[in-house]
Symmetry: C2
């Protein structure tokens, strides 16, 4: 793994230019515009390679297929389990006090790659107030 290919390059470009947390399928259609002959299996294979190389990040979703994010520094996510919206936030987990406390609680000196918060966002909370079922 790790020879140059214009297909892999095109996928990484798409990720850099679309900071919208696309699914693998969405990445495929975005890449198609520049590489009309690319196959879905190539997209899936390269997404996995890019994740392994640490160039992009996989977001494990509660709802629907997983999503991907071009990895920039100190970037974590909060995901609404009702509507699926993803909120970005920024934090250097290798420096700050929050992660020190979390690490102490875990009792295992992990390298923290990211923190994901799962919850219900403001919008979904207020929409819910009017509902009864």
């Amino acid at each position: 793994m790790n020879n140059y290919s214009k297909q892999r390059e095109a996928i990484l470009d798409v990720m850099k230019q679309n900071l919208i947390h696309p699914t693998a399928e969405e990445i495929y259609y975005l890449v198609l515009e520049k590489e009309p002959q690319i196959s879905k299996s190539t997209v899936y294979r390269n997404i996995n390679i890019l994740v392994e190389l640490g160039e992009i990040k996989k977001l494990n979703m509660t709802l629907g297929p997983d999503r991907y994010d071009y990895l920039y520094k100190d970037h974590s996510h909060a995901i609404c389990e009702k509507c699926g919206n993803i909120f970005d936030f920024y934090d250097d987990f290798n420096k700050n006090e929050i992660s020190k406390k979390l690490l102490k609680q875990i009792g295992n000196n992990m390298d923290i790659n990211s923190i994901t918060i799962y919850g219900i966002c403001e919008d979904c909370k207020s929409n819910n107030k009017n509902k009864e079922e």
Copy 2:
């Protein structure tokens, strides 16, 4: 949704007695022992209902199919992205300072259901030191 059924009861019992973060498939085989005629679709359907009712929690995995956990109070997870191990830790996110700070960073007053930490555990870190590829 919400009539009594012995199948749903059996699934919840399995979850209460097996705090091992099983996959849906594993839950199916565990329930089979008590309900030998239960079908897989019944297991999947009831798992989803129990998640919706808040009786069990879905863990979004980086590796492999999702896993489930019998929900007890103030319980969150750290997942190793290399070996898939799940570490439990305990924290009431609706009370403590950590979640207050996280909420401020998100900029959206979410109800936090849980926090999941993704990283590399101690074991995988030390195993890696000897590897080069």
